[in-house]
């Protein structure tokens, strides 16, 4: 029974959602709408779950003085302050929540992601090796696309005598666009079709109860 009820519910809900794409009439349309409403309610409840989990994890870190526990009071403090500001004064423009978001959260978030530029540069120097013909082909096309996607590629092209007056004054940009629209599109289509078939297979396994890993524990 413990296994049967969740598998049965998964099957029924999965089949209703699939059928409502093919049979847009009642009762499937109405049932589908109710299920999507319930999904949004459950997903909203998951946010509370995430918040409680955050507090639990960081409280445990402080209590047991785990590695880098000193950052946990900052996390919990920031969380509680933002929550109080949002509930107390609302999230409209100009309120304390919005001010803290615009002056602290946004610059910090942008900065953290900007660090990626340095790591990519370091990785480019150390790890991007043309060790085989595939990697060499990738690097050559990467060079062309990197030059073509920024204006300096065509500035360099137009330094060549006759290039600016030719019928292709923006040749590097055109070649980069061709690489994106022809070889890249072909490869992306293939990867997308393959990955989508994998998702369809996994979803059908879940709906028919063959895949039970989402229930937790072994079969």
């Amino acid at each position: 029974m413990r296994l049967f009820v969740p598998l049965f519910m998964t099957f029924i809900c999965g089949m209703i959602i699939i059928l409502q794409f093919f049979v847009p009439h009642r009762p499937f349309s109405t049932l589908g709408e109710r299920l999507t409403d319930w999904y949004m309610i459950v997903a909203s409840a998951a946010i509370f779950l995430g918040a409680v989990n955050l507090l639990q994890v960081h409280s445990a870190r402080i209590r047991f003085r785990q590695k880098n526990w000193q950052y946990s009071p900052v996390v919990i403090g920031g969380f509680l302050v933002m929550m109080a500001a949002g509930f107390g004064w609302g999230v409209a423009d100009g309120k304390p929540f919005d001010w803290m978001f615009q002056t602290m959260v946004v610059p910090m978030g942008a900065t953290m992601f900007s660090l990626l530029a340095f790591f990519v540069a370091s990785a480019a120097f150390r790890a991007f090796r043309s060790s085989n013909w595939r990697a060499t082909l990738l690097l050559v096309s990467a060079f062309i696309v990197m030059l073509g996607r920024v204006p300096i590629g065509d500035v360099i092209w137009r330094l060549i005598p006759g290039a600016a007056a030719s019928s292709h004054p923006n040749l590097v940009n055109e070649i980069a666009e061709w690489i994106m629209q022809v070889p890249n599109m072909a490869g992306q289509r293939a990867v997308m079709i393959g990955a989508s078939l994998g998702v369809v297979a996994t979803s059908l396994r879940m709906i028919f109860g063959i895949e039970r890993s989402y229930l937790g524990g072994s079969d």
Partner: protein
């Protein structure tokens, strides 16, 4: 030469970081400017899709990104909202990422203030929805079921802009500015393929290649790819609309140009050192 290449191969990563930082800061400080050529391409396709909408049309913009990708996507958001308001199109903002709602509010309020668009008559920010693609599926039958009130708590029926917009199919165009999942994939699957709403997109440069498949089939009417896409759009607006202000993306292209050259230099030096080291090892083995 061999010793030089060995030293280059072992260069401290802080040197790389400093050169990278300089390649971004110096062009911005010197206000370098490279001309951005605009031809036919995905950026122009999106511009034309918006420009051919009759005034009074309704467009949904979904701000599916967070502060980490703000540098690439916020300039797009600002340029698009300016174009839409200037063209007399009404804008419904929403977000499938939590922080996108606030970033979208900033872009729409900024454009509305400068162009005299009125909130709730010309634009509204519905806010964040938690269901991703499932929310879009539900919006296909009723937007009010997903957004009974907007981000500021105003009930759906009290918003004049939403009176004639009950379902996703009532919208003339949907634009998703997306940094990942949920984003353009969900909009194409639900809005375009299920409900027939034309969809345009804006995305980070790293994910632009995967959306070219949708451009090829017509499932996307246009795409702004990364900072270059945003700079293209700003340039098109400046060329075609007199008095259009500049944005943040165009100055950023100079910095991006120099930093691309620096990274290419790193790759070349790294590979030269690698190949020289490999030849030396082969020669030593013989």
């Amino acid at each position: 030469m061999g010793r030089l290449l060995e030293r280059l191969d072992k260069v401290d990563r802080r040197v790389i970081y400093i050169l990278m930082a300089a390649s971004v800061i110096v062009p911005l400080a010197l206000k370098l400017d490279f001309p951005i050529p605009i031809g036919s391409g995905p950026s122009m396709d999106l511009y034309m899709a918006i420009d051919t909408l009759p005034p009074g049309s309704t467009v949904i913009i979904s701000f599916d990104y967070d502060p980490s990708t703000k540098a690439e996507l916020q300039p797009m958001a600002v340029a698009l909202t300016r174009h839409l308001f200037g063209h007399g199109v009404r804008v419904i903002g929403m977000a499938m990422w939590p922080q996108g709602a606030s970033l979208g509010q900033q872009a729409m309020a900024q454009a509305a203030d400068s162009l005299g668009a009125e909130q709730y008559e010309d634009w509204v920010n519905l806010g964040y929805t938690v269901g991703a693609g499932v929310s879009l599926l539900r919006m296909g039958s009723s937007i009010e079921a997903v957004y009974p009130q907007d981000r500021d708590g105003v009930p759906y029926d009290s918003i004049p802009l939403m009176r004639n917009v009950r379902r996703l199919g009532d919208v003339d165009l949907a634009i998703s500015l997306s940094a990942g999942d949920p984003g353009i994939h969900s909009w194409v699957m639900m809005a375009k393929d299920t409900y027939g709403v034309p969809v345009g997109g804006g995305c980070t440069a790293v994910s632009a290649p995967e959306f070219y498949t949708y451009l090829g089939t017509g499932q996307l009417v246009g795409l702004l790819g990364g900072l270059r896409g945003a700079a293209d759009y700003e340039t098109i607006l400046r060329e075609r609309i007199p008095g259009a202000p500049g944005g943040l993306a165009t100055p950023g292209m100079a910095a991006q140009s120099i930093s691309h050259l620096v990274i290419m230099g790193f790759i070349v030096i790294g590979n030269v050192a690698f190949i020289a080291g490999r030849s030396k090892r082969k020669g030593g083995a013989k």
